[in-house]
């Protein structure tokens, strides 16, 4: 067991600056308005740094820098760009522990997750796209013996990216790595709940990139995000967040005729077929962990397995064991490596989760465990903690249909395969799903029937690079985490070339 000292305390391995300006053109630039906003840690509720409050003027400056850098960056060889991405990965690896502590302090998630998942995945992601861009090839079509169509990949130019607060560094990396590999310059707006950890990262890796290739402007959505998303100076916008803002971003994009990629969340079913409980073995143990994955990252994951569907004949048994596993989740100081669940990322997030627990109860769902705010002691008393909560109810209830984005799972039973598929697909969303069965045929058929972009089969919450991630239905547009994301950051240039010396004969 290790308990890391909090940034700002004696012995801390990660220190935040007292104030962050915007990162524009390879240097810190004060906000045009001169205003800053306070940034509290959800671990304690106490402010630990202040951050530039960006406005349209700052976005314009960042776009100026990006447009200045984009032509030269877009002309670099893929070898050069891959080398830069690999150097970023190496630098991050050398500072993994510091970055993990910084990320935990800002977001509230347990350091065991940032050490083992968020930051290692981000490092690997840069390496994956370094490899992918080196291996990418254009194509040729031989139209006839004298006519050839050459297809080249070209960068889009300057792109905008709006990052969510649940995995600030990893989600920034999912967007930055393919955009940079493809040769684009970026203006990136972090979430206002987690504005600083990306700048902590830029302090470490900023010197590896030519000035202006990555620009970070913080601020509130309406003041900084909107001018970025609606700018006529970006060639693409990428957003992870919710549906109303997603629609608004598509609306702005339509006015500028630019492409969008959107990741808008889900209400993921996690399905446990009867044969899961046919033995009490390692697999059964793994399936119980799979159920408990709703508490990973405090449930603040777009693919949180927030609906557990358990086959009727094992319902009581499996749910009983799953409740025991849930009650064993250790809640505490996120900087303690033994802690399994930390703090919700913000006060409004805490309030929203509690409001959902209220409506769940009002609709007649039964609280089997948890069901409220976790009262912590000492420094943590001001933080935002929720006890892992298991509801039992029906799929038509709002707690089964809406993304609570907290450590809350709603459980129901199903009769047979068809019933499971009907419940699983009775949702507006289609981002993730889990299928648990010892029988390959059942698992395969379920995986193909569920309308979701990612179906974890006998596993959950793994996010390796090279496994495409994105949504069906209301969950968005595009696939991240895979080389196909390069296509979302590239134009296709076709040279249609005639090698014939003869005219067509029309004129």
């Amino acid at each position: 067991m290790t308990v890391y000292a909090a940034p700002g305390q004696p012995g801390a391995i990660a220190e935040y600056r007292a104030r962050y300006d915007h990162w524009i053109g390879g240097e810190y630039v004060p906000p045009a308005s001169g205003q800053y906003f306070e940034n509290p840690s959800p671990v304690t509720g106490q402010t630990f740094t202040e951050v530039a409050r960006g406005t349209a003027d700052d976005i314009e400056r960042a776009l100026d820098a990006a447009h200045g850098a984009a032509p030269a960056w877009g002309r670099t060889s893929v070898t050069e760009r891959a080398n830069v991405l690999n150097k970023i990965a190496d630098r991050m690896e050398a500072h993994l522990e510091e970055i993990a502590v910084a990320e935990t302090w800002e977001n509230g998630k347990p350091v065991r997750e940032t050490l083992a998942a968020d930051i290692p995945l981000a490092i690997d992601h840069f390496r994956y796209f370094a490899g992918a861009i080196r291996a990418q090839e254009g194509s040729i079509s031989e139209i006839d013996e004298d006519t050839i169509a050459y297809h080249f990949h070209e960068p889009l130019g300057v792109v905008g990216q709006i990052i969510p607060w649940n995995f600030p560094i990893l989600m920034a990396t999912w967007k930055l790595a393919p955009a940079l590999a493809a040769g684009n310059a970026v203006v990136l707006k972090p979430a206002e709940q987690t504005p600083a950890s990306i700048l902590f990262l830029m302090d470490l890796i900023g010197d590896l990139l030519p000035p202006g290739v990555v620009n970070v402007v913080n601020g509130f959505g309406v003041e900084a995000g909107k001018p970025l998303a609606s700018s006529s100076r970006i060639r693409k916008i990428a957003f992870t967040g919710e549906t109303t803002t997603g629609r608004l971003i598509m609306q702005y994009a339509s006015q500028n005729i630019i492409p969008v990629t959107l990741e808008l969340g889900g209400k993921s079913p996690n399905i446990f077929f009867s044969d899961v409980a046919s033995a009490r073995d390692d697999y059964y143990d793994k399936a119980l962990e799979g159920f408990t994955m709703f508490a990973l990252n405090q449930g603040e994951v777009c693919t949180c397995p927030s609906r557990a569907l358990i086959q009727a004949d094992i319902y009581d048994q499996f749910l009983g064991d799953a409740l025991e596993r849930t009650k064993a989740v250790k809640q505490g100081n996120p900087l303690d490596t033994d802690t399994m669940i930390g703090a919700q990322a913000s006060n409004d997030q805490l309030e929203k989760i509690l409001s959902y627990i209220d409506i769940g109860k009002a609709e007649g769902a039964k609280v089997l465990t948890g069901g409220g705010r976790a009262e912590m002691e000492g420094d943590l008393a001001g933080g935002y903690y929720v006890t892992p909560t298991v509801f039992e109810g029906k799929n038509s209830m709002r707690i089964f249909q809406e993304e609570i984005f907290g450590p809350v799972v709603s459980v129901t039973e199903f009769a047979d395969f068809d019933d499971a598929m009907k419940i699983a697909n009775d949702t507006l969303y289609g981002l993730g799903a889990g299928v648990w069965s010892r029988q390959g045929e059942t698992a395969y058929r379920a995986g193909r029937t569920i309308e979701a972009g990612r179906v974890w089969t006998n596993c959950y919450h793994a996010y390796p690079a090279a496994a495409a991630f994105g949504g069906y239905k209301g969950s968005g547009v595009g696939r991240e985490n895979h080389k196909m994301m390069l296509d979302h950051y590239q134009q296709t240039k076709n040279l249609l070339v005639s090698y014939s010396g003869q005219k067509l004969g029309f004129f």
Binding site: R53, P164, W165, N166, A191, E192, Q193, F220, G221, V222, E223, G225, K226, A229, T240, G241, E242, T243, T244, T245, G246, R247, L248, Q251, E263, L264, G265, G266, E300, C302, S346, N347, D348, Q349, E351, K352, S355, Y356, D358, I359, A362, E363, S396, R398, Q401, E402, E403, I404, F405, L428, Y429, G474, S475
Partner: protein
């Protein structure tokens, strides 16, 4: 709470006061209830007309707010309405519930206009009563 007539939506006094202040800054306002990731399930407040509505949306009702109290700086005392919308598909899952727009301290996100004030609109829900259900559905 302004909840004396049968309606699907209501607003708390605190949220109404905030709406009056925001209206002085941004002009007429509207709500669109979000769903999905991160800040989903939150009501998003925009200058009226900023968010394009269409056949995919349902008008849940109008919040009636008074720009007061009289001693508030800049208050006019006039009554104004804020329409509340939701996507039709989402409404199918929400139609049995009554929604009250409240406000809590927080950071917010999305492009909702209240976030820079350090507060966030929040939906509080209850089941419709039988009388309300009969009148509304």
């Amino acid at each position: 709470m302004t909840d004396d007539t049968i309606s699907r939506v209501a607003v708390t006094d605190a949220a109404a006061g905030l709406l009056a202040r925001l209206r002085r800054q941004h002009g007429e306002l509207m709500f669109h209830q979000s769903g999905g990731c991160c800040d989903g399930s939150s009501p998003m407040c925009y200058p009226d007309g900023d968010f394009l509505l269409g056949d995919a949306d349902v008008h849940l009702g109008d919040l009636v707010v008074t720009d007061g109290p009289d001693d508030a700086p800049g208050a006019t005392g006039e009554e104004f309405t804020v329409p509340v919308w939701m996507s039709r598909a989402q409404f199918e899952y929400w139609r049995h519930t009554h929604l009250t727009i409240d406000v809590v301290p927080g950071r917010g996100s999305g492009f909702s206009v209240e976030a820079p004030e350090g507060v966030r609109f929040l939906i509080r829900s209850r089941l419709l009563t039988d009388a309300e259900w009969g009148a509304l559905d």
